[in-house]
Symmetry: C2
Subunit: 772 residues, 2 copies
Amino acid sequence: MKNYIKADEWNIIEEGFDPHLNKISESIFSLGNGRMGQRANFEETYTGETLLGNYVAGVYYPDKTRVGWWKNGYPEYFAKVLNAANWVGIEVKLDDEILDLATAEVSDFKRLLNMHAGYLERTFTAKLKSGKTLKVKSTRFCSIADDEVGAIRYSITPLDFDGKLTLTPFIDGDVKNQDSNYDEKFWDKIADEISGTEAYIKLRTKKTAFEVCTGSNIELYKNAEKLDINPEAVRKEKFVGQTFSIEVKANEEITLVKIAANLSSENYPKESLLKETKSVIANASAKGFDTLLTEQTEAWASKWEESDIIIEGDVSAQQAIRFNIFQLFQTYTGKDDRLNIGPKGFTGEKYGGSTYWDTEAYCVPFYLATAPQEVSKNLLIYRHKQLGKAIENAAKLGFKDGAALYPMVTMNGEECHNEWEITFEEIHRNGAIAFAIFNYIRYTGDESYLSDFGLEVLIGIARFWKQRVNWSNDKQQYVMLGVTGPNEYENNINNNWYTNILATWCMKYATEAAGIVKTQQPEKYNSLLKSLNFDQKEFTDWADIIEKMYYPHDEKLGIFLQQDGYLDKEQTLVKDLPASERPINQKWSWDRILRSCFIKQADVLQGLYFFEEDYDLDTLKRNFDFYEPRTVHESSLSPCVHSILAAKLNDEARAYEFYLRTARLDLDDYNNDTEDGLHITSMAGTWMSVVEGFAGMRVRDGKLQFNPFLPGKWKSFSFTIGFRGTTLKINITESGISIKNNAAIDLEIGIRNQLYKLAGNTEIEVNNAALV
Amino acid sequence: MKNYIKADEWNIIEEGFDPHLNKISESIFSLGNGRMGQRANFEETYTGETLLGNYVAGVYYPDKTRVGWWKNGYPEYFAKVLNAANWVGIEVKLDDEILDLATAEVSDFKRLLNMHAGYLERTFTAKLKSGKTLKVKSTRFCSIADDEVGAIRYSITPLDFDGKLTLTPFIDGDVKNQDSNYDEKFWDKIADEISGTEAYIKLRTKKTAFEVCTGSNIELYKNAEKLDINPEAVRKEKFVGQTFSIEVKANEEITLVKIAANLSSENYPKESLLKETKSVIANASAKGFDTLLTEQTEAWASKWEESDIIIEGDVSAQQAIRFNIFQLFQTYTGKDDRLNIGPKGFTGEKYGGSTYWDTEAYCVPFYLATAPQEVSKNLLIYRHKQLGKAIENAAKLGFKDGAALYPMVTMNGEECHNEWEITFEEIHRNGAIAFAIFNYIRYTGDESYLSDFGLEVLIGIARFWKQRVNWSNDKQQYVMLGVTGPNEYENNINNNWYTNILATWCMKYATEAAGIVKTQQPEKYNSLLKSLNFDQKEFTDWADIIEKMYYPHDEKLGIFLQQDGYLDKEQTLVKDLPASERPINQKWSWDRILRSCFIKQADVLQGLYFFEEDYDLDTLKRNFDFYEPRTVHESSLSPCVHSILAAKLNDEARAYEFYLRTARLDLDDYNNDTEDGLHITSMAGTWMSVVEGFAGMRVRDGKLQFNPFLPGKWKSFSFTIGFRGTTLKINITESGISIKNNAAIDLEIGIRNQLYKLAGNTEIEVNNAALV
C-alpha cells in the first residue's frame, strides 16, 4: 500500500518525482475517452522504468495460446488488447543533451489529473548533467467531445541558459505488448507520410488486419507568439516525426502544440483511413488547442452533471469516488455497441481480453444510473451481437441445439481464456449476462428490449443450462457437476449453490420473457421461435428442472452451502490466519487454497445479492455471518457486494469498512499491482457500495427505493442518477434524505418502508425522525 | 492401429520401406542398455521424416517451466531427458551423390531387431538418381556387457558400378529436444579431438553442467580384408568426424566398423572424462566388433534365462511378450541406484521427466521376479536418496515436520510436472512408493531393508498423510479433500476411496515397520527416530486417523465409491459411447470428461488389486462389475490391472481380452502414438497380466502361490522367475501346471488352495483334475 497521492476534491495530485512510483503513476494518471486511451507516459525521452501504453478500442490481436499442457477445448488464440502507436512522444534536446528525467536532477515535479475538466498536467524543473536548468509544463487530454482526437501542449522554459533547443515530436508504432506470448510484434507498417508539420503512419495488425492511422500536426510558440517552422522529416521503422531547432534564451517559454488523431478501420474504409485522418487533424488544428480543451471541459462538466457523487467531510473519500467515476467514463462512453469495458480499461495490457462478467454484474448498474439509457443498452447489445459466437463456443464443449455459453474473457465473442477450471467451468458468467437483461429492464422499464434482442439471448442461455445439468438417480433431483463459482478458490466443484440458483433463475426468466414477448409482439415471437427451431417442449423441460433442482444447504446452520461437501472442510476463520500467510493467493500453493474453506469473493452472497427479494433478512444474516468471516476478499470485486449486504443488514460500520477496501484501491496501490493498470471494473463496485449500500437504492416494481444511512465519518453525501426520463439528486445528511426531481415527470419513491409522491421538478425532504 | 510388423518368435521384423512408418519403426527398433540408448535412426543421411534420438541415462536439463497461468507451487523447471550427441551417423557418398533413402529408390528393405542377441540389423538395396545401385547392411547394438559401448558394422556393396565411395562417419552434438519449451539448445561444447581414426567430443549441459564425452574409432574392410585409412578430420559446431574416399568396384563389399562410447560426468571426474573415454574406446576396439557382439549375445542369453516367457501356439503373443521384456531390460538394468525407468525409456523424449509412480506400481513386480534382488532394491533406494527432495517438495506445498511428498514426475527428486490437478493433487503416488517397499519385502523377505532405508521413507510418507487429511466436523470422521486419483479423468475430488485407503494403509504399515525395526535393530531404531525428531505421539495420531477415516461407499450397490458424489453423475456405460466419440480424451472437452462417469484407468480397482487380501471375492466382483463397464482404459496402464482382477474372478475370457489390449500396444501402434516412443512402463503391466493374471502368481506369507489358467488360444505358456535364492520355471498347459525348482532350496508352494512341497532341484506337476 502506498500513500503518495495528495488528497483533493477534484484533482489527483503527485508531488515530487520518485522513479519507483512512476509505473504506478502512469496507471493512475491515465487518460481515455472510450475510443482511445493511454498511460501517463512522459512526452519526452525517459530511460527509467516505464510501461509504455497506448490503446485503440476494439483493435485486438489473436495471440497464439500458450499452455503447459493442452486440454481439449482450449481456445487456439487469446484476443489481446494491443499496445498501439505512441503519439505523445516529443524528444527534447538542449544543445547536445537529451532531456531525460532518469538522468536529470528533478525538482518541483507535479503531476495533476484534473477530473472535472478531463486533462493531465505535468510540471517540473530539470537540471541537466551540463548544469543547464529548464522548466517544463505539459498539458494533454484525449477528447471526449471528439473521441478520435488527442492534444498536447508542451512548454519549455530555459531558466539559466541560452542555447539551441531541438524538438522532435514523433509517432512511434514500433511497440510491442509486454504480455505477448511469443515475443512477437503485432503491427506491420502499411503507409506513412510526413509533410511539413504533419505526420501520419498507417499500421496494420498481423492476422486480424485491423488498420489504424495515427496522425499529428504541430505548432510552435515562443511565449504567446506563433512561430513558423520548417521541420525536417524523420522516418524510421514504423516511426514518423519531425525535427527542428531554435535558438532560445533564458526565461523564454517555447511551446509545442501537438494535435493528434487515431482512426481505425473499424469505423472507416481502409482505403480512406489516411484521408479521413488528415481531415480530422485539419479540423482539430483549425480549432486549436484552447478550443479543444474548452470543449473537453464542457463535455466532462456535462458528464459530472449526470453522475457526480459529493461527499462532505472526507476529502480522501471524495477524491476516490470521483476518480472511480472518472476512470469508468474514460473507459466506456457507450457510443459503440461493439466496445466493452476491459478490466484495465486503457491503463494497461494485463488480462488482455476485453470483456468479463464484471461488465454485467458490476458495470451495468453504474451506467444504468449515471448515463443515458443507450449506454447500458449498448452493453447488452454487445452480447447480443456475439450470440452466434457464444453458440459456437458452447458447441466446442459438446453442447448443441442453440445452447449458448458466453466466454469468460473475450474481445470478439470467442473465448480467450485457457485454464480449464475457469474457461470450461466458471459458467456462472452465462447467468450474469441474463441477469443484466433483467436488471436493465427492471431499471428502465424498456420491455421492448426483450423482443428486439433479449429473448434470443435468454433462450440460448437457458438451453445451455438445460443441457448442463443432469439427473441424479441417487438424489432424484437435477444436479450440476464440475463447475467453478465466483469463488475461484474452489475448482471443479459439484452443485455450487450460486450457479444452481442462477441456472434455474435463467430458465424461469427466459420463460417469463417469452411470455411477455408473446403477449406484446405475437408475430415477432412466432418468427423468432421459428428461427431458433424452438420446441414448446423446451419450456416443459425447463419447468421440470426448475421444479426438481437440487440446492445444497445445511439445515442445522440454516445456510445455503457454497457447494457439496463444503462443511467437510476444516472450518477456520480469516481472522485467525497469520498476516504472514496473506494474501493466500501469493503465499499458499493452489491445492491448499482449494481445500481450505477460504473464499475469494462473494459466492453464496453474490446470489443473495442478485436475488435478495427471494430471501428474508434472517436468511441473509445467517449466510452473511457464516460466509463473510471465511472470505479473504482477494478479488477487488468482493468488498462491494459485502458492503451492500452489510448495509442491508444495518451493519453500518462494516458496510463502511468494506467500502474502504476498494474505494482507494488504485490511488493507494492497495494490492501492489496498480503499475499494471487500474482495476476499472471494480470501480463500479465502489460506486455500488455508495448508492446501493449507503443510500440503499433499489428499483422495485418500477419505483426507486432508498434505505439510506450516513457513514459516521461523513457530514453528508449526495449523488445524481438518471431514472426513466428524469434526473434526481439525492442528498443524505445526518438529519435525513432529500431528493430533487429535475424534470417534469411525477414519480413515486420509496424511502425505508414508506412510499412518497415526488412531483416533477419538486424536491422532498424526509427527516430521519419520520423514517421507520 | 498398424499391422506391419512380421510375426516371429524372437525377432521384430519390418519388410519394405514405407517412409510414413519410419518414425514408428524408429521407436519400435530402439536400442538401449540401461546406461544409454537410441532410436533406430538411420546411420546414413536421411532427409525424410525422422525423430533423432540419443539418450544418456541420468543426464538431464532443467527446462524453464512454460504455463499459461502460473499457480503458486508450480516447479520453476522441468528436468528433461536430453537428446544427446548422435554417434551413429555415417555419411555415404558415391561419386558426388549422397545416399539418402528419402530420394533413392529403395528395395529389399528389411529392419530386424534380434531380441535374443540384442542387436538391430538393417538391409536394403538403393538405386540412386544416377541409376547406381548398391546394397547396404548395417548391424548395431548398445552393449549390455559394457554399457558405455556401442558398435556399428556398416557394409556397402555397389551392385552395378565402379566408382568413388566417400564415407564420413561422425558424432554430432548439435542436436536439440523437440519438446524444448523455449526452443533452446541444451548443450555447449567443451572440447573435441580428432586424431586418425578416432574422434571425441565433450559436451556440457547448460545450467546442470553435466558433461558427456562421446568418442568413436573406425575401421575399414574391403570384403574380409582390413584396409589402412588416413581420413581427413571434419570439425563443425559441436560436430566431429572423419572423411575418406576409396575406389570401389561392383560387388566388392566395403565395411565400416564404428566403435563408440558415451561416458558421463555422473561416473567420472570431469577432468578425466576424455582420457577415460579414450581408454574405453581403446579396449573395445581391441576386442573388435565380433567379440563385442558375442559378449552382447551371451549377456542377453543370460538375461533371457532368468526372465523369458514362452507361449506356444501363438507366435504373435510370443513376439509381443518378448518385445516387452526386451525393452524393459534395455531401459533399466538395475546397476545404478540413481537411475530409473522413464515412461519412454531411451525411445523418445516425451514425458521428459524420468520417474513416475509407474515404476513402483508396475515395474517393481516385474524386476522382483525377473532380475536379481539388487535390481528392484536399487529402484527403492532411488527414492530413498530423494527423500530430502520429497520433504522439500512437500514444504513448498505448506507441509512441515518432515512430511514427504514424492514428485509426480522427476529426474533428481524435484517435481517437474506443472498441472495443479496432477502436480499438487495426484498424491496417491506417495502411497505407491510405500507399497513398493512392502511389496519388495513381501517378495524377497528382506526385512533389513526397513532399518537400512525403508522406515525413514515410510515415516516421511505417513507424516504427509497425517497432515493431508482433516477432521470433518460434519462427518465426525477424517476426510481427504482436493485430490486426483489414478483416474485422472476426475480432478480435485473429495475422498477418493483409493487415496483414502492407501493413506491409512501407509500409516498402518509405517507403524508396523517401526515395530519390526524396533525389535530387530533397537539401536538403529532409536537413533533413526531421534534424527527424524520423531515423537511417539505421531503413532497415536496415525492410529486415530486409521480408526476414524472416512471411506465413501454405497450400501445399496455394495460398492466403494470412487469419490464423494460419484453417483450423482449420469450413469452411462462405455459400451453405449459412439465410436466417433472415442477416445474421449481426444474428442471431448475436459469439463465434459470430468463430469462424466467415465474412468481413465483402474482407481477403486487399483486399491482392490493392491489390497486384495482385505476383500472377499464378492466385494471384488461387485466393484469390478460396476466400475469396469465405466472404464475407457485410455491409459496404457489400465488393462493389466483389469486383466489380473478378471483372472481372479475366473473370467478367463475377459482376462485375456484385457491382456490383448496392451500386449502389442507399440508393435501395432494401437494408439497412434508409438512414433513418440514406446510405452515402456506399461510393458511391465503386460508381463503382470501373464504372471499374476493367467498364472495367478502371488506371494503370501513368504510362499509363492499360483492360481493358473490357460488362455484358450494358447497351447501352453511357461515363464521363469527368481525367488529367494532359486529360479523356478513354471509351465502351464491344458492339462495342468508344472514347476521346476532350479536350486538346492526347498520351498512350499501353493497351487489353487493346496500347499505343495517342492524340494530343491525337483519338479512338481499338478494336473487340473487334482486342482480344487
